[in-house]
């Protein structure tokens, strides 16, 4: 009886443990990459030097990514004409899945770049530990903020972080 109770207590302690997060790239230069965008043009991270860059790894099969995506569009609408670029890196294995998902959005801002990483080569280097994971880079290409997953409070944090980085 006592054994069973101990087992139950141990079970609930494990249930209550916080989720583990890893921030290995924090304050380091973001690993360079070149990927094709949804229109078949090559896009390099290096070409955004001098801008605050928001890199978001997402997939059409990931429910929180679907919730986050319209928020990313709104974010870029807010920074229209400013030195901010968003690289939305899609990791769907089939391009058509990403294309189908994007049909829901009629207008995507010019600073919103849709890149394809179907072989998961770049996301592997960035070692995203959740879906979605986003990295905010300062104007020198250094990773200053990392967000694992998506939460309702993230939009406010993104804006605060981007505004701070824009002033630097």
């Amino acid at each position: 009886m006592r054994q069973k109770r101990s087992l139950l207590i141990a079970w609930f302690i494990i249930l209550a443990l916080p989720a583990f997060s890893w921030g290995g790239l924090m304050n380091q230069s973001a690993p360079p990459f070149t990927l094709m965008d949804i229109n078949g043009r090559a896009v390099s991270l290096s070409s955004f030097k001098g801008k605050v860059v928001f890199i978001d790894f997402w997939a059409s099969w990931c429910p929180p990514c679907k919730v986050e995506f319209p928020e990313l569009i709104r974010l870029m609408e807010r920074y229209n004409g400013e030195d901010v670029a968003l690289l939305a890196v899609n990791v769907d294995q089939k391009r058509s899945h990403a294309v189908d998902f994007l049909k829901k959005f009629s207008v995507i801002p010019a600073s919103f770049h849709l890149l394809l990483d179907g072989e998961s080569q770049v996301i592997k280097i960035y070692n995203a530990s959740a879906m979605p994971t986003s990295f905010i880079l300062d104007k020198n290409g250094v990773v200053r903020h990392i967000h694992f997953g998506y939460r309702e409070t993230d939009r406010k944090k993104w804006i605060e972080e981007i505004d701070t980085l824009l002033k630097q």
Partner: protein, 73 residues
Amino acid sequence: MKKKAVWLLAAVSLGAALSGCARVKPWEREYLADPIMQFDYNKEEKSVKEHFLGTREGSTGSFGVSGGGCGCN
């Protein structure tokens, strides 16, 4: 026998949870997120089926476990 089974379940689950032996990355869960890989995709249909079987058979209760899926954040 019964006690052993409980402890076996506990040992396997705690072992799996703490060892981190399964190194499937979040972006590798595309297939796991597919509806046909879910344990509980159509829970309404599952509920009707289990109710029907529960009225026919003599050993109701516990048909499955929660979890799985895309394991996003």
